[in-house]
Structures are given as structure tokens and as C-alpha cells.
């Protein structure tokens, strides 16, 4: 009898295998039938192929104008001519020839662009379809020189690392807060993170709308945010709910990922030639981000971590701004910035959930803690501070 069991199991496994293979086989037959009989031919009406072209990067330098374009047509598309400001300009394409669906190519024009002026680019494909790209302000694209990298790092440090460090410097003062003060600070953190979540989500979706159709921008943003949220939740909860330094680390990571996405977008905007005016805006941005440091400090007020912990948290939260700026100005396109911001949004959502859970555990009132005056005030203050300081950097 005992020998019969494995045989029965083998037989069952074989049956399962057949049931697995059968639907796959049926699908294979269907594909073969479609390919061989071409039942879709009846739909062909001689209409020209659908064409789509997305402008991913714009580079101005002493050689003229360079454009990275991505094809999204139903068939390979050919860029036949390029207009700038309603005039045809000679150009070269790299790589040359038709651009396959989803592929990108550089168009190089020896175009004598004007500093600070607007230019309108129009690509004409072989079918005569046109794709327009307006450049609001032409400024030279930063070269990947050490000087430029250092300059970008400096801005990244000012907007990313300095505010976090300043926020963390409140640590000694914050240590003396009582139970209610603690609840206020944690809910302040949730408020500011809530602002960042909305902000990152909106920016990611806005960038997504500029990406080639093939990337399905909004879907990509939502899926990336959700999966990064779930992944970080799973990692964070592998040995119970995070608290203390662990929770601070997650907050710093969430803010860091947000700053990476921001940095990518900033760098890409710079590379694309759009720029605003004024150093005060950088400072306004720094002020805006000071709250981030306070938020990171909140869970470790009772822990007395080492100085190196603070340094690590600062770098984790602020450092990605520098890396993002470098990557963004050198290589990023809208889809990568959108993706980074979406991942950041997911990470922020995870931190909101964890800080909320931590806040609940800290209080004997359980879920009701969210309805207490200090928490409600903290939530409002966090979001309001971010909102008001954000006004400094928007025109």
C-alpha cells in the first residue's frame, strides 16, 4: 500500500501537467491561426500608420540644438525634416534611419539659438505628420564638467542635506517635550509627509503625461507607487513594527526617495533648458524642507542615538537630492523622473502608515489618539507649514 502512494502522486502530477499544457496549447493554436490566416486584414483600409513622437530631452550648446525623440508609432517612423521657428534646418540623426516603436534617436541641428528666447521645433515625418515641441526659454545645457557637477552638488546640499541637518539640530530641544508634545511632533511629521505625498504624486503624474505613450505614464506611476509602498511595508514589518532608529530610518528613506525624484526632475528641467530666476528660491526651498529634519528626529527623541546615526539619517534623507540632480541633468528623461517620484510617493505612504502606527502605540488611547487636540494640531501644522513654505518657491 505504501508503494502505491508515490505512484498515485505521480499520476496526479501528470494529470495536472496535462491540464496545464492544454490551455497553453490551445492558445498556441490560436496564435498560429491568427498569424497564418491574418483575419485582421479586413480592417486594413489604406490609412497611414498611426504615428507618435515624444520629445524627451532638449540640449542647447555651442554646436546648436539637440533633441532626443522617442517614436511611439504603430510602425517604424522616419523623421524626414525638422523645422525650427517655421524654417527648415539641416539636421543629422543618430542612429540614422527609421525609428522603431519605443526606440529613441538624437536629432542634431546646427541651429544658432538665442539665449533667453523661445523656440518652436516641429518634426515632419515621411507621411507629412508633424510633431511640435515648444522651448519656452533657451539656455545652455550644463556640460558634465567637474565644475557643473560641483555646482549641482552644492544646490543639492542646500535644498536636500542642509534642511534635514537643521531640522535634526532641534533634537536637544525636542527631547524635553512631554507625551503630548511627542504626539504633536509625530503628527506634524505625518502632516508634512502627507503634503509630500500629494506633491510627489501630482508631480509624478504631471511628468507622466509628458512621457511617450509606450510608457503608459499614469499607470506606471500608480503601479510604481503601490509596489514600492507594499515592498517597503513588507521589509519594514519583517521583524515587527518599526520604532526608534528603524522608524527614523524609514522616514529618512522616504524623504530621500522623494528628494531623489525631485533632484532628477530638477536636473532634467535644467538639461531641458527651462530655468527660473533667483537664488532666494533655493533658500526658500531649503526653509521648506527644514520640517523634514524635525520629522526624522521625532521617533528617536527617547533613544539618544550616536552622532553618526544623525549623520547617516541626514545623508539618507538629503543626499539623494544631489545624486538625483546629477543623474537628471546628465541622462534622465521625463519617464525616469516620474518613476523616481512615484517610488518616492510609495515610500512616503509607507512612512505615513508606520508613523501613524507608532503614534497609536505610543498612546494609551489607541486609535482615538488621532482625534486629540495635539495630534490634530500637529497634522494641520505639518501640512500648513509645508504648504506655506511651498508658496515661497512657486511663482
Amino acid at each position: 500500500m505504501n508503494e502505491m502512494l508515490p505512484r498515485a502522486a505521480i499520476r496526479a502530477a501528470r494529470t495536472n501537467l496535462v491540464w496545464l499544457a492544454l490551455p497553453l496549447l490551445a492558445f498556441g493554436v490560436a496564435v498560429a491561426w491568427i498569424l497564418s490566416t491574418d483575419p485582421l486584414s479586413g480592417f486594413r483600409n489604406g490609412a497611414p500608420p498611426v504615428e507618435n513622437l515624444t520629445f524627451e530631452r532638449t540640449v542647447f550648446d555651442e554646436g546648436g540644438l539637440r533633441l532626443l525623440v522617442r517614436a511611439g508609432g504603430s510602425e517604424p517612423m522616419t523623421v524626414a525634416q525638422v523645422q525650427v521657428d517655421d524654417a527648415y534646418w539641416q539636421f543629422t540623426q543618430d542612429p540614422p534611419g527609421p525609428i522603431a516603436r519605443g526606440r529613441a534617436a538624437w536629432l542634431k541641428l546646427p541651429f544658432p539659438w538665442m539665449l533667453g528666447e523661445a523656440h518652436a521645433v516641429k518634426v515632419v515625418t515621411s507621411t507629412g505628420a508633424t510633431f511640435a515641441h515648444d522651448i519656452a526659454v533657451a539656455v545652455p545645457t550644463p556640460q558634465a564638467t567637474t565644475g557643473q557637477m560641483r555646482l549641482q552638488a552644492m544646490v543639492g546640499i542646500i535644498v536636500g542635506i542642509v534642511p534635514v541637518a537643521v531640522g535634526l539640530m532641534f533634537y536637544p530641544v525636542l527631547r524635553d517635550v512631554g507625551r503630548e508634545g511627542m504626539a504633536f511632533l509625530l503628527s506634524l511629521t505625518i502632516g508634512l509627509l502627507g503634503f509630500l505625498l500629494v506633491d510627489a504624486g501630482a508631480e509624478a503624474l504631471e511628468l507622466a503625461s509628458e512621457t511617450a505613450a509606450i510608457f503608459q505614464g499614469p499607470v506606471m506611476v500608480v503601479l510604481a507607487a503601490l509596489s514600492s509602498f507594499l515592498l517597503l511595508m513588507a521589509i519594514g514589518r519583517r521583524s515587527g513594527a518599526p520604532a526608534g532608529v528603524a522608524l527614523s530610518t524609514y522616514i529618512a528613506l522616504g524623504i530621500g526617495l522623494h528628494n531623489l525624484g525631485e533632484g532628477l526632475a530638477i536636473g532634467a528641467a535644467f538639461a531641458a533648458g527651462s530655468a527660473g530666476l533667483g537664488t532666494f528660491l533655493v533658500l526658500g526651498f531649503a526653509l521648506h524642507n527644514v520640517t523634514e529634519g524635525i520629522g526624522i528626529a521625532a521617533p528617536i527623541l527617547k533613544k539618544r542615538p550616536s552622532l553618526w546615526t544623525f549623520v547617516g539619517l541626514t545623508l539618507l534623507a538629503g543626499g539623494p537630492a544631489v545624486i538625483g540632480m546629477w543623474l537628471g541633468s546628465l541622462a534622465a528623461s521625463a519617464q525616469w523622473s516620474a518613476l523616481a517620484l512615484a517610488v518616492g510617493a510609495g515610500a512616503i505612504l509607507q512612512v505615513i502608515v508606520e508613523v501613524g502606527a507608532y503614534l497609536r502605540r505610543q498612546s494609551e488611547r489607541g486609535r482615538d489618539v488621532f482625534l486629540t487636540p495635539p495630534v490634530l494640531a500637529g497634522l494641520a501644522a505639518g501640512a500648513a507649514f509645508m504648504y506655506v513654505t511651498a508658496a515661497l518657491v512657486k511663482i
Binding site: A80, Y88, P110, T127, E206, I266, L281, V393
Partner: protein, 375 residues
């Protein structure tokens, strides 16, 4: 298609760059200065010719040009050949002794290359855009046998004097696909005219390519007071062979159907005469039969560099209607004859273009290559 048109300056990340740009001003200024070099503005023509070989010329006007060449062999017509390619039909004598001139015309759907790499689904007369340049002599009997091999009803509406039933409008000479019609009328008045399809919608039929030049030469015997001028216009006379005659049909193409033209040209191919300047023998006077059939823009013009010309509006006079001008404007369907000479000029490249600069930069521009004598 145009959703990428906005550069959002209002984003806060963009604003940050202001600080960066301000901080890095010194470094940036250097490259700006280089980017703004005006480069070589002189010698348009020489630049143009050099461009064929050099894909990345200096950033002057020479780079402002379509890239590549049109395959004239595949098109079946060449803008340069069209300049002098008159269709004089076949000639026979009527019982009353008058000359009967018979032209054969067909309508065909054809995809043509209107600029390097740009295919346009055209409707054509005799497979070309513009259609054949018909030329007759004042007073002749004209017979145009028109067969429609295309997918839509078409007609030929001649600018000239004729009976209502020969007008080429709906109800008078409109030809369904597969059918045939014979237009018959006397050649009058002399002048530089045109013909075009008058099927509805009119704008679509014209902008798709159904038009051409229709020139009636004056009969010297009917104009004794200016017989020598008439003889110089009459194709085939010794006086006429002393002239260099060119037919230029100013046209344009809307390739993306937004009611604006993407390409402007003379004889269809944008920039054709920049890439291959028109050879002019210095000693021989030049006569241009100029016709404007551009759709979507009400007016076009012709401006000649370094020279002035006499203009005969509609070509229906033997004395100039405008003397010594360097620019004329033509409304849609307006046409005329330009006469000038480079006899006193030094050889070289002389530009011509409309003074609507936009049209110039979108392809309607060319060069006369004035030479001492043809080799």
C-alpha cells in the same frame, strides 16, 4: 499630436535651476557666447551647394534647408526640367484653315515626394504636380481630351475665354472616374493663365495638386503696333529663342491637414532651386511665366535679388503693367510675366524668393546661377 508643446516654468524644480544658473553664470556665459556666433551669413548660394556634402555646416543661413534630395526619377518629374518643359500638344489644320491644337490630359492619384523624404498623396494631371504647362498661340482652336483615371470626379477649368459648357465646373465638363470629356474653345486672350480642377471641395482639389500653367502666345499679326514684342513671346520664332523662358508655378503643401502649409515651393519641390540653382546665360534676357496657386495663404510674392524687372500682370498686355520693380505680389490664381536681364551683372548666384520670409524659410527660395555662356 502636439501635447508636448508646453514647457512648464512654474514648477518649483525649474525655479531651483534659477539659483543654479545664477550661481553658475560665469561658466555658462562662456558657452553662450560661442552658441551665439552669427557664423557665415554671406554667400547663401555657395553655402547651399556646399551643404549637400557637409551635413553639419556652420550655423548660418546655409544650414536653414531641408535635408537630402528628392528622388525625381521615382516622382517622374523634375522641378528643373519643368521650368522649360512646354506641352504644345499635337497640331492639325481645320477645314477652315485654322490651326487645331489637341492636348491629351489625364487625372491620376499619385503619391509624390514634395520634399526630401516627405510623401504626399497627390491628385495629378498627367502624373505630375504642377500639371503640364500647356502652350498655344492666340486664335488657335484648342481641344483638350481629358480622361479621369483617378478615384474622384475631376475637371479642368481654364482661365481664358470660352463657352459656359466648357467651364469645367459641376454640370459643365465634370468627369467621373473612368470617364472622358473633350474641352474645346479658341485660344484667347493671349497671356499667362492657368488651369485647375473645379470639382468640390475646390480647396482640396487644388491643394492636392490639380493645377498647371496655360500660356497663350500673342499672334504678332494681330498686334502690329507691338509685333516685335509679340514675336519675342511666340514660341518657336527666332526672336523667342533669344530669350530664356521659365515657367514657375508657386505652390505649397499642407501635409498634416491643419489648413496650414508645411512646404512652399516653385514647381512642387521645396528648396529644389537652392540645391540646384537655375542656370542663366548672362547675355540672354529672362522671361518668367509666374503663377500663384498656393492654397491656405491669400498672397504670395516674388522678389529678385540685385536686379529689377518689368511685370505684365496676367500677361495680357504687350507693354509692362509695372516697370522696374524688384517685388511683385500675387493673390491666389494671379499670374503674370516677369522680364529682366543679367547682361550688366557679374556672374554669380542671385537669389529669388517671396518676401514673406516664412514661405522662404519653408522651401520657396532659389538661386539664379548667372554664367557667361553655356559650356
Amino acid at each position: 499630436m502636439e501635447k508636448q508643446t508646453r514647457q512648464d516654468l512654474l514648477r518649483r524644480r525649474s525655479l531651483l535651476m534659477g539659483g543654479l544658473a545664477a550661481a553658475g553664470g560665469t561658466a555658462i556665459c562662456t558657452s553662450v557666447a560661442m552658441g551665439q556666433q552669427p557664423a557665415n551669413h554671406a554667400g547663401h548660394g555657395a553655402q547651399a551647394i556646399a551643404d549637400a556634402a557637409d551635413p553639419m555646416p556652420s550655423m548660418g543661413h546655409g544650414a536653414m534647408m531641408t535635408v537630402g534630395d528628392v528622388d525625381s526619377a521615382a516622382n517622374g518629374f523634375d522641378p528643373t526640367d519643368m521650368l522649360t518643359d512646354w506641352d504644345t500638344g499635337t497640331v492639325s489644320t481645320l477645314p477652315d484653315g485654322r490651326t487645331l491644337r489637341t492636348f491629351e490630359m489625364t487625372a491620376e492619384d499619385r503619391e509624390i515626394e514634395i520634399a526630401p523624404g516627405i510623401k504626399f498623396p497627390a491628385w495629378t494631371y498627367n502624373g505630375r504636380v504642377p500639371g503640364p504647362a500647356l502652350r498655344a498661340k492666340e486664335g488657335e482652336r484648342l481641344r483638350i481630351v481629358f480622361r479621369n483615371y483617378a478615384s474622384h470626379p475631376h475637371s479642368i477649368h481654364f482661365h481664358g475665354i470660352h463657352a459656359a459648357r466648357m467651364d469645367g465646373v459641376p454640370g459643365a465638363g465634370m468627369v467621373d472616374p473612368g470617364d472622358e470629356f473633350i474641352y474645346e474653345f479658341d485660344a484667347k486672350p493671349f497671356g499667362c493663365h492657368l488651369y485647375h480642377c473645379h470639382a468640390m471641395p475646390l480647396r482640396r482639389h487644388i491643394h492636392k495638386g490639380m493645377y498647371g500653367a496655360f500660356v497663350i502666345d500673342p499672334d504678332p499679326e494681330r498686334h502690329p503696333e507691338h509685333a516685335d514684342v509679340a514675336r519675342s513671346r511666340l514660341l518657336g520664332t527666332p526672336e523667342n529663342t533669344g530669350w530664356q523662358e521659365l515657367v514657375m508655378v508657386m505652390n505649397a503643401f499642407d501635409t498634416n491637414f491643419d489648413a496650414e502649409n508645411e512646404f512652399y515651393a516653385v514647381n512642387t519641390v521645396a528648396h529644389a532651386f537652392m540645391k540646384r540653382p537655375i542656370r542663366i546665360v548672362k547675355g540672354k534676357p529672362v522671361r518668367i511665366y509666374l503663377i500663384n496657386v498656393i492654397e491656405f495663404d491669400p498672397i504670395n510674392s516674388f522678389h529678385l535679388h540685385a536686379n529689377f524687372f518689368d511685370y505684365y500682370d496676367q500677361g495680357t498686355t504687350l507693354t509692362p503693367t509695372l516697370k522696374t520693380v524688384d517685388l511683385i505680389t500675387q493673390c491666389q490664381a494671379q499670374r503674370g510675366i516677369l522680364e529682366f536681364t543679367f547682361a550688366e551683372h557679374e556672374p554669380g548666384l542671385y537669389m529669388f524668393h517671396p518676401h514673406q520670409t516664412e514661405f522662404t524659410e519653408l522651401g520657396w527660395v532659389g538661386m539664379f546661377d548667372v554664367v557667361e555662356a553655356l559650356a
